[in-house]
């Protein structure tokens, strides 16, 4: 199957799922026992009949529910997620402002977590049932078991307050100048503009939160890597490779890992959802101004439209990431290409 046809098919499967996500978030948004007008407009505007009528018309609240849903979809397609009660800004603008911080954090965490997870998993499988295997398995168990908010607090106390190895919460210190805006991701922006002090501060501040998130991913991925590698390492072609006199490193990494990669990639895709969940908790501890913290603040101040906007966005991101994973299969497994 040619690649474009494969991608086209995958995207086609994703569309009903995306529509479903909007349906679920619409249903939840309408399940609130309170009047949506009370829930969405601040007290000061409730007495203003004109504003209430405008809100009613914008979201079609005087129409039957099905029509309301299509109004909602139409608003979504125009990038209208409603207005946050707390910040008084359109939610789409809020999200655009906070999203780069989360993407930066999530990317660093994924890279760290996947690298450590695969490395640990291979070590664990190669030295199967040796002390190092037990050590890795215990670390993996701790990684998936200790809540991220506890890890975050321990990390802050030990590495920031006690040892002083890393800077404290926040993306940048109060006295560090912000780099000019290109992508909103501070590490990239300061690299591009050559502000090395800012880069140092940004890196020092991202290490702790991303490590906390990465530990969970490391736990998940080292487990699945170990299991998948163990499966592959006992296959016949591994014995053949060894009989050919190939070096052990080539056998494990080339013949072993490339065949064990499919389940690992699946878990990487799934763990992205956990990562986004973890980001809500981690960002609120590290005062990281991303969408996780935005959602945390929204949820503590009953800012309902903002909560719905962010969860819709995260649902969509999650679906898209898993779409990308599906497409990756195509490159990883020649059998899918042939089918």
């Amino acid at each position: 199957m040619p690649i474009y046809l494969f991608i086209f098919r995958r995207v086609l499967v994703t569309i009903p799922l995306l529509i479903g996500i909007t349906l679920v978030s619409f249903l939840i948004a309408n399940a609130i026992p309170a009047d949506p007008i009370n829930a969405n407009l601040p007290q000061s505007q409730l007495n203003n009949a004109e504003l209430v009528a405008a809100f009613r018309a914008e979201w079609g609240l005087d129409k039957p529910p099905i029509e309301q849903y299509f109004t909602y979809l139409n608003n979504l397609l125009h990038g209208n997620l409603g207005r946050s009660i707390k910040t008084r800004q359109p939610i789409a603008e809020d999200i655009a402002r906070f999203l780069p911080a989360t993407i930066e954090l999530a990317t660093v965490a994924t890279v760290l977590g996947v690298a450590m997870g695969i490395a640990f998993g291979i070590i664990s499988a190669v030295w199967h049932n040796r002390p190092i295997d037990y050590l890795v398995r215990i670390l993996g168990l701790i990684g998936v078991s200790v809540p991220v908010f506890v890890l975050a607090l321990i990390g802050l106390t030990v590495f920031h307050a006690q040892l002083g190895w890393v800077a404290g919460p926040g993306r940048l210190g109060a006295r560090t100048p912000e780099p000019p805006f290109f992508t909103g991701m501070l590490i990239l922006d300061s690299l591009v503009s050559g502000q090395w002090n800012t880069l140092g501060d940004a890196v020092s501040r991202i290490i702790m939160p991303s490590m906390v998130l990465a530990l969970y991913i490391t736990g998940l991925i080292s487990r699945i890597t170990r299991a998948s590698m163990l499966d592959v390492l006992s296959a016949d072609y591994m014995r053949t490779a060894r009989a050919k006199g190939l070096r052990e490193r080539v056998i494990v990494l080339k013949h072993g890992l490339s065949n064990a990669l499919i389940p690992i990639v699946t878990v990487i895709g799934l763990s992205y959802g956990t990562l986004l969940s973890g980001a809500v908790l981690t960002e609120s501890i590290f005062a990281w101004p991303g969408i996780g913290r935005y959602m945390f603040r929204a949820s503590t101040s009953q800012d309902f439209p903002a909560i719905m906007g962010v969860s819709l966005l995260i649902g969509v991101i999650y679906v898209v990431v898993n779409l990308i994973v599906d497409i990756l299969y195509y490159f990883l497994d020649p059998r899918i290409r042939a089918a």
Partner: protein
């Protein structure tokens, strides 16, 4: 496995006998002894002078049953949905599984946050939200198992004997799907406890005064220098979840020896 079981038992006993063991009332404040480090008070006191050891014991009475309840209800609903989808098949299968996939399209805590925000933040609603988030993975698992089991010859034999569909499903098919489902529940309890505490941590579960573990740890954001305020509830959760995951892993190794 033995270690895991004993740790879980210690916490269960601690929570059960909290009124007998705890030296103080979990809500009793002693403002003159705020933020005392461990010493006179076994694990120190929090920002309102409440004894942390007592609060952790009482907290087990909220966090642990909440986790169990989520799994029990979620697994039951998921099993029923999955069994119907797998056994009846056809249009029902399609419909039920599409709905299941929809719920799985959201990361757990995000969907739970949206639902609790809609219902209002308290323990009951947090549990309802988690059940809504939790059942789909069971529906998926059980459907797969039922599809596999119902092809067996003994199911065909029961059908030939004139048994009704309901009888076949409940008496011949389901008993053979139970073991893997139970393994998933043990693996999942730790996760449910983590997520419930996470919701409370965010202020969407137990109310701020209650000694729920996640709620207690949230104090650490403001008082992280007084590490005992959040470290002990944190360790309580960590040990409990590690232990239950350990039990789950061991059970899986027994039922699914390929992973060993």
């Amino acid at each position: 496995m033995l270690v895991g079981v004993s740790i879980v038992i210690v916490w269960l006993l601690g929570a059960f006998f909290a009124p007998q063991i705890a030296p103080y009332q979990p809500l009793a404040q002693n403002v003159s002894a705020r933020l005392q480090p461990p010493g006179a008070y076994l694990w120190g006191t929090d920002e309102l002078g409440r004894d942390i050891f007592s609060r952790v014991l009482y907290g087990g009475r909220i966090t642990i049953p909440a986790g169990f309840l989520v799994i029990a209800v979620g697994a039951t609903i998921g099993t029923i949905v999955g069994a119907i989808a797998g056994f009846v098949g056809g249009v029902w299968d399609e419909l039920l599984m599409r709905i299941t996939e929809l719920f799985m399209a959201f990361p757990t805590i995000i969907l739970a946050m949206a639902i609790t925000a809609a219902l209002g933040a308290d323990i009951r609603n947090a549990i309802i939200a988690l059940v809504i988030v939790w059942w789909p993975s069971y529906a998926r698992l059980v459907r797969g198992l039922v599809l596999k089991v119902k092809r067996n010859e003994y199911v065909e034999a029961t059908r030939c004997m004139g048994a009704s569909g309901f009888y076949i499903l409940t008496r011949t098919v389901m008993p053979n799907c139970l073991a893997p489902t139970l393994v998933l529940t043990t693996l999942d309890i730790g996760n449910a406890i983590l997520t419930f505490a996470g919701l409370s941590f965010l202020g969407l579960g137990a109310d701020p005064t209650s000694p729920e573990w996640g709620r207690m740890i949230a104090v650490g954001i403001d008082y992280f220098d007084q590490s005992w305020t959040w470290l002990f509830p944190g360790m309580a959760m960590a040990t409990l979840v590690i232990a239950s995951n350990f039990i789950g892993d061991s059970l899986r190794d027994i039922f699914d020896p390929r992973m060993r």
